[in-house]
């Protein structure tokens, strides 16, 4: 049972990881019209010049945090596809877009991980923009990092599973 697996919190169950991977592929396929490629065993990601969309799927016990790390060039391409024109990278609208893509992703993740026993709701998204961004996980919860490459460029999805406070 997945509830027993995640009660230990030393790793993210493979069932959840696989569902999140499916959701990333579904979400970007529906936005871009083409499935992104999941990159097996990528090099460790370095500091990011781009945007990070943050959102979580949570219940009273556990929180699955999702961090969508999108390089600047990928974000610009996404804006062109999503709204039909390239948004200025430094604009509020770009932050809105990345937040909304994170929102769409979280909706798909919530629906998919419910199938494997994790029932939760989505938080509101936030977006961060910067030129030397590094993700830190205080208290070191179990994490997974996934890299994808699509028609708009490459991006990462990092996830962490922690206790809900």
């Amino acid at each position: 049972m997945i509830t027993k697996k995640i009660s230990k919190l030393d790793h993210i169950p493979i069932e959840i990881v696989e569902q999140v991977k499916k959701s990333v592929i579904n979400t970007f396929a529906s936005i871009c019209g083409e499935e992104p490629l999941y990159i097996e065993k990528p090099d460790k990601s370095g500091p990011l010049n781009g945007m990070i969309g943050n959102i979580a799927v949570f219940n009273t016990e556990k929180t699955l945090s999702l961090m969508l790390a999108i390089p600047k060039e990928t974000a610009l391409s996404l804006s062109e596809i999503f709204i039909g024109m390239e948004l200025p990278f430094e604009s509020d609208d770009m932050g809105d877009l990345i937040g909304e893509i994170s929102n769409i992703l979280a909706g798909d993740v919530a629906a998919n991980i419910e199938k494997v026993g994790f029932r939760g709701q989505s938080s509101l998204p936030t977006a961060t923009r910067g030129s030397d961004l590094t993700l830190f996980m205080p208290n070191k919860p179990p994490t997974e990092e996934m890299k994808f490459s699509g028609s708009t460029g490459e991006f990462w999805l990092n996830m962490a599973l922690s206790e809900s406070k």
Partner: protein, 148 residues
């Protein structure tokens, strides 16, 4: 082509633009838009001129389901189309049953999805189906209740 006043509710300006763009591209009616960025803002802007609503779910201050429930509790019968990232069947049921929404489309949506959602409510002349003097009188009555 008929003129329809639509309330578009989403905390994302990008998504409000996407809804408006999809509706304009369908060319089924001439839409006039009122925009709101959350459920409370939508309640403040709702009036008896609004003929159809496009409502997001996940918003600060008041969710789309809470907003839809509030307008239904006051007797408003206009079509409510939920436009949301939430996809699980439980959420769909909640929007339609608890929230009183008429239709539910998931993001990202295509023009085809949007058309299927609204086609039951707009006739071929671009007017709301069932729009009549009687309906207009009902709207004015309920508007008085909402504003009191």
């Amino acid at each position: 082509m008929g003129k329809i006043k639509a309330l578009v509710v989403d905390d994302s300006k990008i998504m409000r633009s996407a809804v408006k763009r999809a509706l304009d591209q369908l060319m089924v009616a001439e839409f006039e838009y009122v925009e709101a960025m959350d459920g409370q803002d939508a309640l403040d802007k709702f009036n008896d001129d609004i003929q159809i609503m496009f409502v997001d779910w996940n918003m600060p201050n008041m969710t789309g389901v809470e907003f839809s429930r509030a307008v239904r509790d006051q007797g408003a019968k206009i079509p409510i189309i939920m436009v949301t990232a939430e996809k699980s069947m439980g959420k769909v049921d909640k929007a339609l049953n608890e929230g009183g929404a008429n239709e539910y489309i998931t993001k990202p949506f295509t023009a085809d999805k949007m058309y299927k959602a609204i086609s039951r409510y707009i006739d071929e002349d671009g007017n709301m189906i069932g729009d009549s003097e009687e309906e207009s009188e009902k709207k004015s009555f309920f508007s008085g209740i909402l504003k009191s």
